[in-house]
Subunit: 143 residues, 2 copies
């Protein structure tokens, strides 16, 4: 979309690059700390080895507290199946400013068997689903 | 979108209606506490008198902390101008489960002169913009 700025704001704030000195894999709109909810889709998700596992499909946000509770990661044929979605507890992720994406701070074997669902499913309609996801992952402190 | 559920999840969790006993003005997908980032657009925003002022255009999310920092509210011709967007600090809003939307906990006259921008503007590109918005609103504790 067009990004013309109002006259009263400079094109870029002095500190706006600090969160991503490399800029690799990061669109201009994503070199800042705040991201629009409409633009989270596609943010890459990596494992701790720096290999991309998938991309953000959406965030599941607590509309009362405003805290992102889960990041839903989409896979294109990952694990040999069609596109599927893996909900990841927010606390299982860390944002890597160098990579310009999220890093899943969990064991790969645990992720392989993790809860996932198809494009035509909406398991979060069940308020208990989040608890099932939390129970599956042994959340490690974010580094 | 289709909302067929995986077999292992019931159609609705026992407590899933608790956050919205009335259900008024709330789509099925929004009767739960978590909302997908792709579905926040259109959530109504009311003043403290219960009058709708506008609707959510998007959330500005801190991608490091996962906390929603600003709710951008869209107006269709509000104040006699074309569609414009008002960024509201998260702390200036409370979610009303009965109304099924957010309530702006600020004086109407302050909102009338509040920072706003057009559809072709992207002021949050300037990392200082949020601070300007915060400075404009005298944030009151959320009730």
């Amino acid at each position: 979309m067009p990004t013309r700025l109002p006259n009263e704001t400079p094109l870029r704030a002095p500190g706006s690059m600090e969160l991503d000195p490399s800029g690799e894999g990061v669109a201009i709109e994503e070199t800042r700390r705040l991201i629009a909810s409409s633009k989270v889709e596609g943010t890459p998700v990596f494992n701790r080895a720096g290999e991309q596992l998938g991309a953000v499909y959406n965030f599941m946000v607590d509309k009362i507290s405003g805290q992102v509770a889960y990041v839903v990661m989409s896979f294109g044929g990952f694990l040999g199946i069609g596109e599927s979605y893996h909900p990841l507890p927010w606390r299982a992720l860390t944002y890597d400013t160098g990579l310009g994406g999220y890093v899943v701070d969990i064991d790969k074997d645990r992720l392989a068997d993790a809860p996932r669902y198809g494009a035509d499913e909406d398991p979060f309609r069940d308020d208990e689903y989040g608890a099932q996801v939390d129970a599956y992952y042994r959340i490690t402190p974010t580094s």
